[in-house]
Symmetry: C2
Subunit: 296 residues, 2 copies
């Protein structure tokens, strides 16, 4: 079995995590992000340039980036839904941006009121500008293993949307099991199909743990050679589709598994756990990482 | 990849689960066990004939078995630490018993004050009696992927203890990651080594989820052909070695994964979730199954 010797963690806590938690201060975010970098995380999604009407927790993203002390070798990225968001992000010095498409037509319609096709077309001016400015763009595909409205999603559809984003110029495609419903065989088959159109080393897995399957799904895909994974310290971020359920995979649990398998991440697990415990205390809820609870 | 088409769940909630929770009434246990059987579980460990001084939560095991309404096709088993426990268990009509050894010398010494060898020798009269009475005996091996006192445990030692229990007459060897520290590659290598001395269809995996690794570990072992798994509804039972941490793998999360992989268990997940929610309410804590929380 081919197995990567090294893996890249893209830390989602400050964005995909905190956007689904009670709002915290910019200072609290800055501390979290500094702690994550100090723990050895090299890629941190730090904010989102969406309308504060939709995601008030991210309203301070421009201010955050202005104040963010950078650490060499660490990439600080942001989600940008359109050219306007991109331009603000760029003006405050983001290193990288991310755009998103859905593998589910119903999800696209219900969430952003347009078809998958239209949603991706809207990114064209953003992609042009990013290319001119030499800012790398990451592409998210949501609902890759299931949709809250449609249920099952065909892997061929995931591959189709992934290919469009890749051909538009996204340097990496992050495959999101947005509602965490996937299981290992489906996960592997889906990634295999995407790998036909996007090189495996440009694929990332963004698996949510709502049904407790995220690590098993990642484990099943490791042998395909994929080695970039999105996760969220302390499992920050619930699941907006199931009240009280968990959402993002806890980075601590992922790092524990990878290290146990001899896969290097460059991350100091003890420091990571401390970062997760601190932000959990600030938002006033239990740390959602099992590893953190076992070792704290 | 070889993959079983069918899997057997050995439900631990009423024993390994409730022995680590606040004590509940015999009636509450009877209801739980009836609900589990109604959900389609065919093997239920219902009690333990140990000294009530050590495990007060199991003090009513004889009474429980006397009152337990049996359902055809369902096996109700009990843990029996010695001949005396076995004789009481037999007198109240258990279908099957379980004995236990450790793969860790330190764990054996600290927990039962004797060596692994001595602990297993003590089971000889029990095994003889069980054979005479035609009562199947299951053998647990604890600390197969790590020990709270020793740390790493060699797979060769797990295989050695497994072989002794198997040759003594245990029809099945259940490999326990007692403290839940294992990761997928180690789990698979350990099972491979045990499979050299115990037929794979007589091996069961009893993986705890203290570090969130249980499903990934099971997933990594499925391709070896193992198809019997111990788990606990609602993730009942904490971890006695890490306060506040989780212990047993939640049966709901396991069944969800297996069904998602096309592996039949004969279990009705909806009824199983209801059983777990009811007992969680009785013991007054949140259901530890992510699937239950997502679907309730």
């Amino acid at each position: 079995m081919m197995m990567p010797s090294q893996a890249n963690i893209v830390e989602m806590g400050a964005r995909d995590g905190l956007q689904n938690e009670v709002a915290v201060t910019t200072d609290a975010k800055l501390t979290l992000i500094a702690n994550l970098a100090e723990a050895g995380i090299k890629k941190i999604e730090a904010g989102s340039f969406v309308s504060p009407k939709w995601v008030p927790q991210m309203a301070d993203s421009a201010e955050l980036f202005r104040q963010l002390p950078r650490q060499q070798g660490v990439t600080y990225s942001a989600l940008t839904p359109n050219l306007k968001g991109f331009e603000i992000a760029q003006s405050v010095g983001v290193d990288e941006v991310a755009i998103f498409g859905s593998a589910s037509e119903s999800f696209s319609q219900k969430n952003i009121n347009c078809s998958i096709e239209e949603s991706i077309e809207r990114f064209t001016p953003l992609m042009q500008k990013a290319k001119q400015q030499n800012i790398p763009v990451r592409g998210y595909v949501s609902c890759v293993l299931g949709c809250p409205y449609e249920g099952h999603i065909n892997a061929s559809e995931v591959a189709r949307v992934s290919e469009i984003l890749y051909k538009m110029g996204c340097y990496q495609i992050s495959l999101g099991d947005t509602i965490g419903v996937g299981t290992p065989l489906d996960a592997r088959k889906m990634v295999e199909q995407v790998a036909n159109v996007v090189p495996i080393d440009q694929i990332a897995l963004h698996f949510h743990d709502t049904y407790g399957q995220a690590l098993a799904n990642i484990q099943a895909c490791l042998a395909l050679g994929v080695n970039t994974f999105d996760s969220s310290v302390a499992g920050l971020g619930g699941c907006p589709y199931a009240k009280g359920a968990s959402g993002n995979l806890a980075t601590e649990d992922l790092v524990y598994m990878l290290h146990g398998m001899g896969i290097d991440t460059g991350i100091d697990l003890t420091k990571l756990i401390a970062a997760g415990n601190q932000i959990s205390q600030i938002i006033g809820r239990q740390n959602n990482s099992k590893v953190a609870n076992a070792l704290s």
